[in-house]
């Protein structure tokens, strides 16, 4: 006689079918906080990582017009050649990198796909992937999915969250193969100047590393112009430059990105791309082409507007009594809440329930994020002022116990 208990044990749980590398990935900290915020009412959110502008009308119109003309077919796997040419021309003009549109540029479904392709094309299980943290939440899980071993390198507020050659060198082992960079940084807003980069490039060369450089926020800098890692002497062939249209042109939902690099690597990435997504959607590619061709003025206007809000938010945090380094890029402020003695998660939860402001606890972004809060300033000045008021009141209540 088989008991109920034994019967249950003999049946496989669905979990048992899942690939162990997928099971091993913990649920995203952002997801957890998202559920918490979604259940709350009248909340001002500073939690989003995307522009508050709608895609400029002329870009939307180009896609609408393309649909009207029946442009609904596949494109070349690597993307429309006109678009690849425009990307190469744009990167050369703005960031002094030189790519051959026919075999060194690949149009992808968002920058995320480009990162996934690059890691899948390069990682042999066991390879170590160096990731300066705090950083965007996807690199480490994608790396694990491909069998790689993510190795976080902590960066610190005292260094303005820049990667240093010393800490990079200290993290390198003989299994290190790839360095993933994301500057301007989500979530810290840190940027790297040419002077900051040169010693890093030297270490990369010494240890024969490859670099995946996620430059999605390249257009959003507020003083120093962005320096592409691929533009440094000797670094072009070692670097896969990843970028996209989401942040600069307010096109997050279009999922349009690209990767540029050595023809051998791009062609390996293209193999995976053509068997998984075939090609990026045609109307998105047409919209992206329009954005690159005629969208620079609108982009400049948006950047100016982010810059104004950045100053307002940083000065607001400092007035409230929260230390905040000055972010030089992207659209995030990363104030320290260490003076409260609370963990990021406890602070963010209290801020949500007590003051109805949502911001993302820093610990979800990896090493070095604990004690900080990511606040996006891609919101209207009115919303930002209200949020700062509420955070100020919350801090006041905390102090009074």
């Amino acid at each position: 006689m088989i008991t109920e208990e034994e019967k249950r044990k003999s049946v496989k749980s669905m979990q048992d079918y899942l690939a162990p590398q997928v099971r091993a990935i913990p649920p995203s900290g952002i997801r957890k906080f998202f559920d918490l915020v979604s259940a709350s009412k009248d909340v001002i959110s500073l939690g989003v990582g995307e522009p508050d502008f709608v895609t400029p009308w002329h870009v939307r119109d180009a896609a609408v017009y393309a649909l009207e003309r029946g442009r609904t077919s596949y494109t070349s796997n690597a993307g429309m050649i006109e678009l690849r040419e425009a990307i190469a021309e744009y990167l050369h003009r703005e960031f002094q990198t030189t790519y051959e549109p026919t075999n060194e540029v690949l149009v992808t479904v968002g920058g995320s796909e480009a990162i996934d392709l690059a890691l899948r094309a390069l990682i042999v299980p066991g390879d170590e992937v160096l990731i300066p943290e705090p950083c965007y939440v996807s690199y480490s899980p994608i790396c694990s999915l491909t069998g790689g071993v993510p190795v976080g390198i902590e960066t610190f507020a005292k260094d303005e969250f820049k990667l240093t050659a010393e800490s990079l060198r200290a993290s390198i082992t003989e299994r290190s193969k790839i360095l993933v960079l994301c500057y301007p940084s989500n979530p810290t807003g840190a940027i790297m100047t040419r002077e900051d980069w040169l010693p890093i490039a030297k270490v990369v060369e010494e240890h024969d590393l490859l670099v995946i450089s996620d430059e999605i926020y390249a257009e959003l800098t507020y003083g120093e112009k962005h320096v592409s890692f691929a533009a440094l002497p000797g670094m072009k062939d070692r670097t896969i430059l990843v970028s996209g249209f989401s942040k600069a042109f307010a096109m997050t939902g279009w999922r349009m990105g690209y990767a540029c690099g050595h023809p051998d690597i791009i062609s390996a990435m293209l193999k995976i791309h053509q068997y998984t997504v075939m090609c990026a959607p045609v109307m998105g590619q047409i919209a992206a082409l329009e954005a690159l061709t005629n969208g620079m003025e609108e982009k400049d206007r948006m950047v100016e507007s982010y810059n104004q809000r950045r100053r307002l938010v940083v000065s607001g945090f400092r007035e409230i009594g929260l230390q905040c380094h000055e972010p030089q890029g992207a659209f995030y402020a990363f104030p320290s809440i260490q003076s409260t003695g609370m963990t990021s998660e406890a602070f963010a939860q209290g801020l949500l329930t007590d003051a109805r402001v949502a911001a993302v606890p820093g610990n979800v972004f990896g090493l070095g994020g604990e004690g900080f809060l990511r606040c996006s300033y891609a919101y209207s000045v009115t919303q930002l002022s209200e949020a700062l008021d509420r955070i100020g009141q919350y801090m006041h209540r905390l102090k009074q116990g």
Partner: protein, 163 residues
């Protein structure tokens, strides 16, 4: 006009209630500079008035706006200016433009109701000697004014939290 003043105008155009302190922080400059620049622009009549764009259709008060095409005979020596002045001095008149094309002046008037607007045209505008003809168009619905879309469907569709 320098770039600095331009940026101040852009901010005020967006929301004329922004304080000089806020503007100074947003532009990363001392507040005194902003105060001086605004005072200069007010003195120079670059900033003419701080006003509010109202969507009157949402207000429980009847109000009609008409655009009137006016053909006139220009006056010797003073061209269209003297007639334009005669017309724009009426309080009902909200704006007057000299136009190229089929008519000379475009006059925007506002009245409590259709009758009031019509009476202005027949009793005040048409009898002016230099006025040759008028053609009155009533505005039925305003979709966009001063760059502001009244029934803006571009809400914030973003998720509350995202990577």
């Amino acid at each position: 006009m320098n770039d600095f003043k331009h940026k101040i105008l852009d901010i005020l155009k967006e929301d004329s209630r922004r304080s000089t302190n806020e503007i100074a922080v947003m532009l990363g400059v001392p507040e005194e500079g902003v105060i001086v620049a605004i005072a200069e622009m007010e003195a120079d009549h670059v900033i003419v008035k701080y006003s509010t764009v109202v969507n009157w259709s949402k207000v429980d008060e009847e109000k009609v706006t008409a655009l009137i095409e006016v053909q006139i005979t220009p006056e010797r020596g003073r061209g269209f200016d003297a007639i334009a002045e005669r017309i724009y001095l009426y309080p009902e008149v909200k704006s007057v433009y000299l136009m190229s094309g089929a008519y000379d002046l475009l006059v925007e008037i506002e009245g409590k109701n259709l009758r009031e607007a019509a009476m202005f045209v027949s009793n005040k505008l048409s009898p002016i000697d230099a006025v040759l003809s008028t053609k009155t168009h009533f505005i039925l619905k305003k979709y966009k004014q001063d760059g502001i879309i009244f029934e803006d469907k571009e809400d914030d569709h973003r998720l509350v939290i995202s990577p």
